[in-house]
């Protein structure tokens, strides 16, 4: 499978934080969910991909091109929604359409107005009258309307209500109906990712701790719940992390079938991405 995005050994040092040897790849036609705590390095990684920060080491290739050498070219093909960047409040969607026409060669006015209608955004209203959710939708509409091949979205569903989130997620799925397009999407709303993301990449304290298919994570990983006595009989190589709670032990295992075959322990639950994050970050080895 061809990759649309390849990151190799990306390292960036800040006084209090280091992004260490980040490597992952996103194949064509897929959605990757990018998860991690606040401050884990998601936004820094995204900004490195977008060439917003510099002086980092490592290699980032987009559509097989080095993104530093082809920045201008790549800008056309990447649609972006950032968590902390908003359009100036006095602009209207009409103004945005006019300025984007000058920025993107492939800007599609018709598509933009279709999205405005779909999202019930009035073209002649100033952005300052928009709610947080409406602003997000406007950014998503803008990111999609220049026919990008790669969408990079930092928390695109935050601030949206469940109905709007479902709408937006459906639009993302339509976007990858085109086999040449992919999405890298960071989100704290992990339920959205469990359904539609093909891959999950998990970053913690500036390091990638796993990058796998969502199916592998949700179908093969499990949470074992057992007593202290049972826990002591489990070989350390058979689990990834454990957490001692007041009434029970919670143990993260990477292959629940194999675990079930080896140990006689009754409760092995399916995991959610939330459980996975908590145990990976708070659990002990």
């Amino acid at each position: 499978m061809e990759n649309i995005l390849e990151i190799k050994n990306l390292t960036k040092k800040y006084p209090n934080f280091t992004l260490q040897n980040i490597s992952f790849t996103l194949p064509k036609g897929m959605i990757m969910g990018f998860i991690g705590e606040n401050g884990a390095g998601k936004t820094t990684t995204i900004k490195a991909i977008l060439n917003i920060i510099n002086s980092y080491s490592g290699e980032i290739k987009i559509f097989n091109l080095s993104h530093r050498e082809h920045a201008k070219l790549l800008q056309e093909d990447i649609g972006v929604v950032l968590d902390d960047a908003f359009f100036p409040e006095i602009l209207t969607p009409n103004d945005i359409n006019n300025s984007m026409k000058g920025i993107f060669k492939n800007w599609d006015t018709k598509m933009f107005y279709n999205y405005l209608q779909e999202f019930s955004l009035l073209p002649n209203k100033q952005i300052k009258t928009f709610s947080k959710g409406m602003r997000k939708k406007l950014e998503i509409a803008t990111a999609l309307s220049h026919h990008p091949k790669l969408l990079i979205l930092d928390e695109p569903t935050s601030g949206l209500d469940p109905v709007a989130r479902a709408e937006v997620i459906e639009i993302f799925q339509s976007f990858i109906e085109n086999v040449d397009c992919s999405i890298l999407l960071s989100s704290h709303i992990t339920a959205d990712l469990e359904h539609v993301a093909d891959y999950i990449t998990f970053i913690n304290e500036g390091k990638i701790i796993l990058s796998k298919t969502t199916n592998e994570l949700l179908n093969e990983y499990g949470i074992v719940k057992c007593t202290e006595k049972e826990f002591q009989n489990i070989a350390p190589e058979d689990y990834i992390k454990y957490k001692k709670n007041k009434y029970e032990y919670e143990i993260l295992v990477s292959d629940k079938k194999a675990f079930k075959a080896k140990y006689n322990i009754k409760v092995i639950d399916k995991i959610t991405l939330d459980d996975l994050m908590v145990l990976m970050i708070k659990g002990e080895e």
Partner: protein, 125 residues
């Protein structure tokens, strides 16, 4: 075509999709040669990931229920219905054998087993 997915089931979603398409092929609700939805449109309509529907189709293809014609689409393959049914019976026999063994070990009578089956038959979707 109707496909019902449970997100709270312990059965992986790709398997749920696979089994449901398979049973529609065996029951001939999906006849030979019928074109199936593409991997991507099925993923979108079922609100699941592309890899999930891809896995489901790959397994169906491996088991001979569908065939992919490159650049055209995915179609219901010519299958030996009698053989497929026989396989289903065989699988069922295996499961029931395990259940009956378990029952015998615990002194549960034949009548009780049949009663349980009757109750469960109505409960299972």
């Amino acid at each position: 075509m109707e496909i019902i997915i449970s997100n709270s089931s312990n059965i992986p979603i790709y398997e749920q999709i696979k089994e449901q398409i398979k049973s529609k092929i065996i029951s001939e609700e999906l006849p030979e040669g019928e074109m199936l939805p593409s991997i991507r449109s099925l993923a979108k309509d079922l609100r699941c990931s592309v890899i999930t529907t891809k896995n489901a189709y790959e397994e169906l293809e491996k088991e001979g229920f569908v065939k992919t014609i490159p650049a055209k689409g995915i179609y219901v393959a010519k299958i030996n219905l009698a053989l497929a049914k026989e396989e289903a019976y065989h699988k069922l026999e295996n499961i029931l054998t395990t259940a009956i063994t378990q029952a015998k070990m615990n002194d549960i009578s034949k009548k009780d087993i049949i009663d349980i089956i009757n109750i469960l038959y109505e409960e299972v979707l």
